[in-house]
Every structure is written in C-alpha cells, then in structure tokens.
Symmetry: C4
Subunit: 251 residues, 4 copies
C-alpha cells in the first residue's frame, strides 16, 4: 500500500550533507510569490535537490516534463551550503487538496526540519489585495514575539488586521506547528494584486529576506523567471480546471 506521505532522500547525499540551520519554504500560493522567491534563490545559489515528497493529498495526476517523460506531483527539498551560508528550500508543484492534508503535510515538513537541525523557518507567500499598488509592502508574522524587531529592521511590516486574522496552508501551519519543536518561524508575505506571478512583489520580499539572512542575491533574472513560471503555471491551472471536469466525468 502507498504511504499517505512519502519522503525519499537522495541516497547519493550523505546524512551530514542534509542539515542546515535555516529552511525557506516557497510552495505555490497567491501570486506565486513564495515559489518565485525560493526557486530564484535555488537557481542563483545553485542549490542541490536532496529529497522528494509524494503524497495522496496532492492532485491525482502526473506532470509531463520536457521530452515527454512523466513524474509524480511532488514537493522537493533543496540545499545550498557555501560562502553565503547553509539553507534548505521547500518548493513544489502543489499544496494539499484537503484541509486534513495541509495539516499532515505541514507536520511532516516541520518534522523534517527538526531532524535536519533547522532552527529557523522562513515561509514566503503573497498577500492578495485585489488591485495594483504603486508600493509593495511585505507583511510579516512570527511565531515568537522576540523575532519581530529584526523583521521590522529588515523592512517587514506588522500591520494589525492584515492578513485578516489568519495565514492559510503550509506558510501558516509550518509556523504554528514548529512552536512546540522550538523552531523559530517568520512568514513574509508580499503584497500582490492576485493571480498572476508577480516578480515585483517577489523582488521586494527577496530584499527583506536577504537582509534577514545577511546575504546578497542578484535579482536581475527574477522578472525573466516570473515570465517562464507564468507560462508553466497557466498550463497547469488550465490542466487542473480540465482535470476537475474529467474527474467528475470518469470518477
């Protein structure tokens, strides 16, 4: 029988080359701000894939890759260790399709962090405001009060009542579930109009995040990457809409 959630570490990577003090989560979400920031960093830093996560809580489909080969939907963990520090990145195709799955997957993510020595998690997301703005703020939340000052110093904004009272999905749950494990959690949400991949919002979030990390990451290619991601995502979303029709037809 399939496990509800499966984690497979790359066997070629030694256990001691999996650890890191910091995890940066950038799963799909509003404006795909988190996904864009995390995947940009992975590419700029040359981070290496160390683990793959599959789950029955992801949509029941495979992804067709260039060249016509398929792979299961997944979430992936990348790792960078070099002169700019040591980081893990959590990225992927989808989040859970059910509320229960969100909890169970997020718990697995923070458990992995715990095992790999992570002491701080950054979750990156978008904050949909439904219209275009001249200035992009980075709204923040933390899982310990003593983290607030450094986030503000880096340009993150704590604005009462924004977002409305909650943060949904992995970006929120990983912060909450890491509290009993003693892992610090910081959520950075870039304001964005809504449903398009938003490189400007991602650029602003990246600048706050890198200030917090104390490193510099070139953002020149962010806009280009946003364009490529937009094309890929439109395809996926279209497919997803179609899938729901089909599922209701074949199920």
């Amino acid at each position: 029988m399939m496990e509800d959630i499966t984690i497979r570490f790359e066997e070629s990577i030694a256990p001691e080359d999996r650890t890191a003090p910091i995890m940066i989560e950038g799963l799909p979400g509003i404006g795909h701000v988190g996904k864009l920031v995390a995947e940009h960093m992975i590419q700029e830093l040359g981070a290496v894939r160390i683990a793959e996560i599959n789950s029955i809580y992801f949509p029941p489909q495979v992804i067709i890759q260039e060249g016509g080969t398929v792979r299961l939907c997944n979430n992936e963990i990348y790792r960078y260790s070099g002169e700019k520090g040591t980081y893990l990145f959590l990225v992927g195709d989808f989040q859970s399709t059910s509320g229960e799955g969100h909890y169970l997957l997020s718990q697995v993510y923070v458990d992995i962090c715990h095992q790999l020595g992570v002491r701080r998690i950054y979750t990156i997301g978008g904050y949909g405001i439904g219209h275009f703005n001249e200035v992009t703020r980075v709204i923040a939340a933390v899982n310990r009060e003593d983290l607030r000052q450094q986030v503000e110093d880096a340009g993150g904004i704590f604005s009462e009542g924004e977002p409305g009272g909650g943060i949904i999905g992995a970006a929120g749950l990983m912060l909450g579930l890491s509290i009993p494990l003693g892992i610090e959690g910081i959520c950075l949400m870039g304001e964005t109009s809504g449903y398009l991949v938003d490189p400007r919002s991602a650029t602003t979030v990246l600048s706050v995040l890198t200030k917090l990390l104390g490193i510099e990451i070139d953002d020149a290619k962010l806009t280009e990457r946003a364009g490529e991601m937009e094309v890929a995502l439109q395809r996926l979303l279209e497919q997803e809409r179609k899938s729901e029709e089909e599922l209701s037809y074949i199920g």
Copy 2:
C-alpha cells in the same frame, strides 16, 4: 505524524485542579451566542485556561494575534473554581470542517468531561429565525427527561418542532454522546436573527443559565464584548472566505 486530535493540559496545573462537576460549551455557531456567553463568563469569573485542543479537522490556517505572532487554530478549556462554584468552559476559534470531524471532536470533548468528573454539560447556541424579534426566547433540549422541569423553571422553553428536528455540531452531539457516559446534558439556544453576534440573545441565555447554576453574573459588559467579537469575527469570516478561494487556487 500529527495526531488527528491533540489535547495538551497546562503542566503548571495539578490534575486535581482540572476537575469540575459542570462543563459549559460555547463554541462558534449561529449568532455566536454560545461563544459570547461562555467567553463573557470566563472573563467575569476570571477562569483559567487549563487545556488546548488542536486538530486536523479545524481549518488549515493559523490565527494572527495582536503583536503579529501566530498560533494554531484551537479549542480551549478554561476552569473557574471559587465562591460561585466550579466550572469548565469549552470555547474556541472554529468547529470541525467535516461531519466526521464533528463526531470525533465531540467524542473527545465528552471523554474529557468524563475524565474530569463532569456530571452535567450545558451546551449553548443560537437558534436562527431569520428575522428580528421583540422578545428573545431560549429554546431548550435535554438528554434526559427528568431535566426538563428545572430548565422550564429557569425560563427555558421546550417547543415541539423547534429547532426543526435536530441540533447540529458540538452543541447537539455532546448531548447525545454523553448519554452512555451517564452525564446530564442541557442545550440552551437563544433566538437570534442570524449572522451577527447577538448580545441581546446572549443576555437572555445567560439569565436562564445562571438561574440553573444558582449564581449571578453581571451582564453589563456583554454588549461591549459582542461589539469587539463582531469585529474580530468579521475579520475571520472574511479571511475564511478568502481562504477557500486561495485553497482552490493553491491546492
């Protein structure tokens, strides 16, 4: 792996300081009458938090608190022991998002009651009538026929066909599930127009409840608290509506 439902008692509170003969449930519901009554009593009596309940059956989000720190959605148990008696209170952010979750959570609640020596459960709710009324009745139901007289003496009304034939969620299920445990159950539902936090309905329910408990609770701050709760809840509801959009987008 995350447990489907987790109960964490405050370690600083000795087991013998957790027990009580009476539990008052006031989870969110129609007009948030139960939530308002229970939280008002907690504050007026200065009840102390003794346990927190988390569950994958709650919405997959964290709550942002004042100051920008997050916490998991939860239900909480408070306890008061003093000159006005000894009571447990069950309050929280949400009820279950699924029918199965309603049953499983309600069973956990009555099992906790059983362990903590509870001999009577009051569940408080609203009874939506869809329009504004001059007079607010308190519709009642019980899980043992011999409880009816004292509820009527205190001002509760048993009206055949009201509510229609059922009481949904924890307010109903806790009454049903406590029967095999020998725990008495009384449900008090304040008539309310519908979706606004209704302090007048809560005041009327509070007067019936306190008559049954044989104590007095000042209701002067109920209206003020209803106003604050309304603001907080509108925020949560807005967030929840948004969450569903987002979940369908990112899932």
Copy 3:
C-alpha cells in the same frame, strides 16, 4: 475515541432472540418507500428493537424527540418472531453522508445479517420516475439468477434498463456485498414520482413483498402513516438544509 461505526444490541434480549432467516431493509430513500414499508410492518407486527447503530458517517446532529429529549442519529434493527414468521428490519434516520461510508455501513449490515443467521435480505426502495403514474410498478433486482422467477410470480418486474444501470446506497450495496456471504438478496423498488412520501407506491411494494413472504399485512394504516412521516421528514429535510448553511458558517 469514537468507533467509526458502533453496534449496540439491547442487553435485555438474549442472543438466541436476535436471529432470523430474513432481513427487510427500509432506510430513507426516494419517496421514502422503503422506510414507509418497513416501519409499517414493524408497527403492524409489533416488532421489537434489538440493536442500534451509530456512525460518524451519519450527519453530525442529534434528533430532538417529543418531550424535548435528544438522541444521536441512528439506524436500528427490529425483530418480529410470531405466527407470521421471524423477521429482522433495518430502519433509521439517514444513510451515510459519503460514498466510503455507504460501503462501510452496508458491509456492517450484511455482516450483522450473517451473524444473525439471515439467509435472505429484502431491500426496499423507491424508483423515481419524475411524474405521476396511474399504475405503480414494482421494479426488482436480485443477486442470484434463480431468485428471479419467484419475484416475478409475486408481481415484481424485471425491466431491462430500469433503473438505468445501478442501485445506489444500502439497497444496492447490501445485495452486492451479501453475495460472497451466500445470502440471497432481492431489491424491490416502487415507482414513485419523486420526493414526497408515497403511500400508494408503498402499498404496491408491500403487496409484492408479503406475497414473497407468504403472509398478509393489513395496509389500511399505510396512508395515515405516510402523512405523519411526511410531516416529520419535511421537518428533518428543512433542518438538514439549514444545517448545511450553518455548518459552512461555523466550520
């Protein structure tokens, strides 16, 4: 923790007073034909309640009974043993709210039949045709070819393509799941316009069923009972519609 499905036999009834060679299922469904037939027989024969079934797959609500006491939603087994034979009856408030629950509950029902010595199951339902008919046919299906002749002799009709290709819920699944247990299964579906409790359809089904059983049951009170059931069901259905609104509000 609550079991997903719980069966409680009345302790006052000895195990040897639970068995019967025949089970008649009449759970809620189209036109409530099955419910009406089974509950009419229970009352006419004076059958005795021997078991109650609760489940997290039923709607998360309690039923308010006359007098204002509540009880959990349930399905119940009644038994009659006397000069007209020995029969079990399966009746109840609801069927499952999910597809998986339908399977799991139906499996429990046929397992109970197996334990209690049942050698034949009759499942009774309605067959919605969407309009009123002068003549009410009883459409039949069986789980063994050799049962067909006796059903036809009693007035049941096998009509290719009716119903369309499937029988949903317990009425169908109990027939399918009882095959590997060697229990005979006969489904009798009375034609009915649709959503009203239909005493004429029930009367016709009753006549076919009693011919198969080789007994007579007075049908004089069927119409009266249908009237009462209609009132009660309208109340429940109204409540259910309201419940869904409320659940989406409080969940």
Copy 4:
C-alpha cells in the same frame, strides 16, 4: 470490516497462469478511448478474467446486469496468452471518486503488475480537444526517456504542452508509480472531441499500440462495439447524475 480495496483472483486459475510481461490499462475516461481499445482487444483475443477489484473508492452503487442480477462496481484484470503474446488488461466500470482513492487504487494496480511479472505498462486514454478533427493524433508520454523513440516509430506524437502539463487518474499515476518499481510505462492518448465514445480515436490508438506490441488486431468491430458501449454508458452516466441527486437526498 470491508477492506478499502479488495483483490480477488479467480481460484480456478493457477498462479503461473496469472503472469504476463505487459499490462494494458483501459479504464473509463475521456471519450472512453482506453476502455474501448482494451475491451475490444479482450474480445478479439478471447482474454480470460483472472481477478476482480472492489473498493470503497468506487461509487456506492451496484450495477444491474442483463437478467436483473446485480454485482458490485469493480475493476477487472483479464489475461491473454497465445500466439499473439501474453498480456494483462485492466478494465472496469469506474475510476475512484476521490483524489486519495486515485492514488491508492493506482498503487494497488502497479503492485499487482509487479507481482505478476509485468515489465511494461501501457495506459490508454483520450485527449479531449473540444472539437471534431479530420486527423486523429495519438499523443504520448513515457516514464523513461529511452522509450520515446519506439513510441514515435509506431506513430505516437510527443507534443510539448499537450496535454497541458499533466495526465490525471490511473493513466497518469500508474506511469508515475511504476517508476520506483522499474516498470516501463507508456501512455497513449487518442485525440477526441470529448464526451462521446469515439471509435475513430480508438482505432488510431489501437494501430499505434499494436505496432508497439508487434501484433495485428482486427478493428472491424470497433465501431459496432463503440455503439453498444455508448448506449450502456449513457445509461450509467444518467444513473450517476441521478445518484448524486439521490445521495444528497438520502444522505
């Protein structure tokens, strides 16, 4: 209790008469292209049923067969072994009704393949384009790059961005889930307008598939079979639509 997924092999068939190097999956889907191709091959080759799969993830209904007998919804495995080779076929009434069920069933299917010595799986489906085409292409995907050439040689087309980025249901998941088992996977999707059983699309897919298998299968009866299947499926679909109404009514 019922198992979530049950596999029953025909006892009359010896274990050594269950194995095959190739599995051809043709479960219901767009245009029922896969179902039509697989069932046509089963009939033309005279393949023998060796196993039946039941599951709580299938719709909660029984199928009424000719003659008025019922059977549970199922998926079935057929086997042919003769001068044209040795093949397994996976066909059935439905796919899963839930995303989680799709994963769990597909995992069972590839595990069965693994046990029965299968080294290559062909999954057959339709690719809905929403309009009628003069020419029917067969869009392909594979689970290993080295399979691409032989598929192209047989007439399969690898078209970037078609289908949109994913293949849903068993046709996709079986390819993905068979990778860690070392089983080759090839998906062939015949272009089709959409919701009608499409014998022309099936004919084209059959020609590509048989070229890959190195055998010939007469396609003369495909159109006739498509007509019969269309009648049966319309009946099932109508029933399914009705079932959803009924389930929401009785549940």
